[in-house]
């Protein structure tokens, strides 16, 4: 089992990049520990800004730096960054067009028993509804690296959400298929399509294998690019398979599943089932317990897939 969390990979990428590019600045809101930023701060103290526990300030200061040619990465728990700072993201980043990369760490239900204050089950909805903001939820450490390399070379704002704990590898170090802003096809299939993002991709991949054993041919897509969502892959899935399941660590309202449903309804209606967190405070537990509780597991996906195959 992999022991490297995605946030650590982000720190590694930024530490290496900042050595070559003096304009890279990492900012945090008393979150350098949570963000595994220790090595970055040690290597580049002059390219690091601590703003204290003040997430609105974090985003506005980042925007000011970006407006003067810096390339800021604002790193803060996803729960605070995506809701408390939402207006700063809307006005100072997206509307003003500043190149700020917002890195939401310990996202989703990573903080487990700390409760709803610390869960970010609304970040796709909040960040995604802002014109000019892009939203990415990478699935594993290898894809996180590929995504961060792509974002380093890109001059526009984006929000990235990663979890707190190490997650199982979806890809292999020597094989990380990645096209920026295109979903990654993990398994070809003709009966139905499973579209997942973030930490749910691993469960979707497992479900694809389990379904194959049961004679159901499932296409599995890693939709790490939640916005801009890969419309073409979604439309192809609707045309070429009989049903679609979306799986995400987010509220069922306003998430990736809602975006997929909107596209499918408008382009080629097929049955779509959104697997997500319910519109209620999340049950207490560590991530695995929470996912089990809401059926956000390979087994849960298989169950829904079989049901859809009976209906489709």
């Amino acid at each position: 089992m992999n022991t490297i969390p995605n946030r650590q990979v982000i720190c590694e990428v930024l530490t290496a990049a900042a050595a070559k590019d003096r304009d890279i600045v990492v900012l945090c809101s008393d979150s350098r520990g949570s963000a595994s930023l220790g090595p970055y701060v040690a290597a580049h103290p002059g390219q690091f800004v601590e703003v204290g526990i003040a997430e609105q300030n974090l985003v506005s200061i980042s925007a000011g730096l970006a407006a003067c040619g810096k390339k800021p990465f604002a790193v803060s728990p996803a729960c605070f960054l995506s809701t408390r700072s939402m207006e700063q993201v809307k006005v100072d980043v997206a509307y003003s067009g500043t190149n700020v990369k917002l890195i939401g760490i310990s996202g989703g239900v990573s903080y487990g028993a700390l409760g709803m204050t610390h869960h970010s089950a609304q970040d796709i909805a909040t960040m995604g509804s802002i014109p000019g903001m892009r939203v990415y939820l990478p699935s594993d450490r290898f894809q996180t690296r590929a995504l961060m390399e792509a974002l380093l070379a890109d001059p526009k704002a984006a929000y990235v959400r990663v979890g707190r704990n190490p997650v199982p590898d979806v890809y292999r170090e020597e094989s990380v298929p990645f096209t920026f802003n295109k979903a990654t096809l993990l398994q070809e299939g003709t009966d139905l399509t499973i579209i997942a993002c973030g930490e749910m991709v691993h469960a979707a991949k497992e479900a694809g294998a389990l379904l194959a054993d049961r004679g159901i041919s499932a296409r599995v897509l890693d939709m790490y690019c939640v916005k801009p969502i890969d419309r073409d892959s979604v439309i192809r899935a609707a045309r070429e398979t009989k049903a679609i399941i979306t799986v995400e660590e987010h509220s069922v309202i306003g998430g990736m599943g809602a975006m997929v449903s909107q596209i499918v309804c408008g382009e080629h209606p097929v049955l779509v089932r959104n697997m997500a967190l319910s519109d209620a405070p999340v049950v207490t537990g560590v991530s695995k317990e929470v996912f089990d509780h809401y059926g956000l597991t390979a087994g849960g996906i298989v169950k829904i897939a079989e049901e859809l195959m009976r209906l489709a």
Partner: protein, 275 residues
């Protein structure tokens, strides 16, 4: 230009604001008229920014944090040549980029604002960038006094003080009125000196509708080392039209035809008398 000429210009530019609001059918009259002398002082006497150097990384930066006073900024920017005055005829019209709050699609405007409480923290980021790059530029932002109730202002103030950003100057347009009435009744702002000083700021005062007084305060702010400066500029809301002065009701009032003529006449008189 000497102070008399700048004062005269300031009344002439209020006339431009009057035209914008009257023809556009909306705007923030009271705050535009209170802030005008501050903007004229910054753009005509202090800031190293012009249409010629607006893309130069070394230019001074300005953010109108009280973005609703954009009509005053438009008048000043047009006067400084950032865009042709005629473009302002589209103000508030369908499809225009000249909207009711600052928009950085317009030459001379650095950041979008309009939601209060954003300008100071963004200015802190700009000042930090300048320090990191060893650049000589200065960063200015103008806040409203009602705006000081926004908590994010004080997050920015805290950071400006903490980082000792002596390349940063904030100016408070202290006209003592906001949309609902007196700032002291809505949410008291007095002891402002103590508040800013407690956050590590060098506090200066100016008579905010007096160009000579403003020039002195900005000059002192630029000379101050070791931390950011704030200028509490005591202004008169609606300054330039006697019937609107110190009247909260003129916060975003659109003048009637009769008022329009009266304002025009008084501004012209004051423009001439200033010389």
């Amino acid at each position: 230009m000497n102070y008399k000429e700048l004062t005269s210009k300031s009344f002439a530019l209020r006339r431009e604001v009057l035209e914008l609001i009257y023809r556009g059918g909306g705007g923030h009259f009271g705050g535009d008229f209170s802030v005008m002398d501050i903007l004229v002082t910054l753009y005509c006497l202090h800031m190293n920014v012009s249409p010629e150097n607006q893309d130069d990384p070394g230019r001074d930066r300005f953010i109108l944090s009280k973005g609703h006073s954009v009509e005053a900024l438009y008048a000043v920017l047009a006067d400084r040549g950032f865009f042709p005055r005629e473009e302002l005829e589209t103000f508030s019209r369908y499809g225009s980029k000249y909207i009711g709050h600052p928009n950085n699609k317009i030459n001379g405007i650095e950041m979008n604002s309009g939601s209060l409480g954003h300008g100071l923290p963004v200015a802190v980021g700009m000042a930090l960038a300048g320090r990191m790059d060893g650049a000589a530029y200065r960063v200015y932002t103008v806040l409203g006094d009602g705006e000081l109730a926004e908590g994010s202002v004080w997050e920015g103030a805290m950071a400006g003080g903490h980082f000792k950003l002596d390349n940063l100057t904030a100016i408070v347009d202290r006209n003592r009125l906001q949309i609902s009435g007196s700032t002291e009744d809505v949410m008291a702002q007095d002891s402002l000196d103590d508040r800013w000083a407690a956050f590590g700021w060098h506090v200066l005062h100016a008579s905010g509708n007096d160009i000579a007084s403003l020039d002195g305060a900005v000059t002192a702010a630029k000379a101050h080392r070791g931390g950011p400066s704030v200028i509490i500029a005591d202004t008169i809301k609606g300054c330039g039209y006697s019937a609107a002065e110190n009247q909260a009701g003129w916060h975003h009032k659109v003048p009637t035809a009769e008022q329009y003529e009266a304002i025009k006449a008084e501004l012209e008189e004051r423009r001439v008398n200033a010389l």
